[in-house]
Amino acid sequence: MPDLFLDGRPLYVANGTSVAAALALGADGCSRTSVSGQRRAPLCGMGICQECRVLIDGRLRLACQTLCLDGMHVQTRP
């Protein structure tokens, strides 16, 4: 079971869980803050809309196309 950190808080998820799903399992499901300050969550689920981009170990990646891995640090409020 991957043990990751979501905005600093530890989270355990089932193998094969996407980071997008982990956002909802560990917090309110939101992935980023928009230009005008709205919180946003994954929209298209298939790597198109970029709403789910989060900082994963310091790099912007798409939560919907990234699987949770042990030790991963995910930030939704950089």
């Binding site: 230009v35 981009r53 310091g58 790099r59 912007l60 950089p78």
Partner: protein, 371 residues
């Protein structure tokens, strides 16, 4: 078909130069018609870097005066113009470039420009993300940045200015023919369409210089100044082949805007992978943390370059009634207000706020054939 006189002045081109000229004229109660073909030139593509350049006295005079004008305009600019007075930090990679920084510093200081020489240690305090080992830099405090398409739109939004989407196919002194065959006339026609100017005036010595640009996604701010390598001065003006230089601008959005490249002898607007790679590699050499950031868009644009790097501002010596405001190369956004003031002073036969001589079209086109 002849529509007769449609305005006091017709301006061809709604980029930053045409817009600045239109604004300056409109403020003197001149009725202006601005024609634009909608192709989007250098104003749309460029970085919107407002900077003082001092390769020669004429360039310094023009850019310094114009920057002062931008600072005067700044309080009135809408937020969408994203004007920031963040300063340019010229980077010296070695002792030789530091010497260039030093002489540039003395020259600018002598002309009253607010600037500061920065040593090795101080450089890393100012911009900690720069790679270690740089020799130092020169900070020019009055420089800034701007989103030029918004600034042009703001300038054109005035009661005395009418805008029309139209392709001009011919100019004849103070009248123009549109591609639908209609002739429009005015007291004067101003050609301010950058790289397209040679289509109407083939005699103009203007060459396109292609540039690539890339912008990153939004990240928490890592740099504050516009970072330009001092090598830029050499590569920008002396190279004849393709060249690149580090030019990184922090946008107010948290994005980093990366340039700069120069290519000659091409009008193909495609983003070329090899040039993009070359340009980005140079930027990463100065700012290694860039490598991990996402680039989200790349594009190209064309600078309208004259042989001596200075614009052509003034009446066409052989075509009475046709006025030129073209050939600004990469400095069009910076020098737009100065260009407008120069042009207006000549149109009204007034004393120019700065010597008009170095920018007169005569230097390439010969002496006036009209009285």
């Amino acid at each position: 078909m002849n529509e007769g006189q449609v305005a006091d002045v017709i301006i061809i081109g709604a980029g930053i130069i045409g817009a600045a000229c239109a604004q300056a004229l409109a403020r003197r109660n001149v009725k202006v018609l601005v024609l634009d073909a909608g192709w989007h030139g250098a104003t749309a593509a460029g970085m919107g870097h407002l900077l003082v350049l001092d390769d020669n006295p004429a360039e310094l005079a023009l850019s310094q005066y114009s920057l002062q004008r931008w600072r005067e305009l700044a309080p009135a600019l809408p937020a969408s113009c994203a004007w920031r007075n963040n300063g340019t930090l010229w980077l010296a990679a070695n002792a030789e470039e530091m010497a260039v920084a030093h002489s540039k510093y003395l020259n600018l200081l002598a002309h009253g420009e607010s600037c500061e020489l920065i040593g090795r240690t101080a450089l890393h305090q100012r911009e900690p993300e720069l790679r270690p080992g740089l020799e130092g830099g020169l900070l020019i405090k009055g420089d800034g940045i701007l989103y030029a398409p918004a600034a042009a739109r703001w300038m054109l939004d005035a009661p005395n200015i009418r805008q029309q989407r139209a392709q001009v196919s011919e100019v004849d002194g103070a009248r123009v023919r549109l591609d639908d065959g209609r002739w429009l006339s005015a007291e004067a026609v101003v050609l301010a369409n950058g790289i397209q100017a040679t289509e109407l005036c083939p005699e103009l010595p203007i060459e396109p210089k292609k540039g690539h640009l890339l912008i990153t996604d939004r990240y928490p701010a890592t740099i504050t100044h516009t970072l330009v390598e001092l090598g830029y001065v050499t590569s920008a003006h002396n190279a004849s082949g393709p060249s690149v230089a580090c030019n990184i601008q922090p946008r107010p959005t948290g994005q980093l805007f990366i340039g700069a490249s120069r290519q000659f002898g091409t009008v193909d607007p495609q983003v070329e992978g090899w040039m993009l790679a070359k340009m980005l590699k140079r930027a990463v050499e100065y700012l290694p943390g860039l490598a991990h950031l996402n680039g989200i868009r790349a594009w190209t644009g064309f600078r309208a370059a004259s042989p001596d790097g200075l614009p052509l501002v003034g009446q066409h010596p052989q075509r009475k009634g046709l006025w030129l405001a073209v050939g600004h190369e990469g400095l069009g956004v910076t020098t737009a207000p100065a260009t407008a003031d120069l042009l207006v002073a000549q149109l009204f036969d007034e004393t120019s706020p700065l010597a008009a001589q170095p920018y007169l079209p005569q230097r390439f086109l010969g002496e006036p054939a009209h009285a």
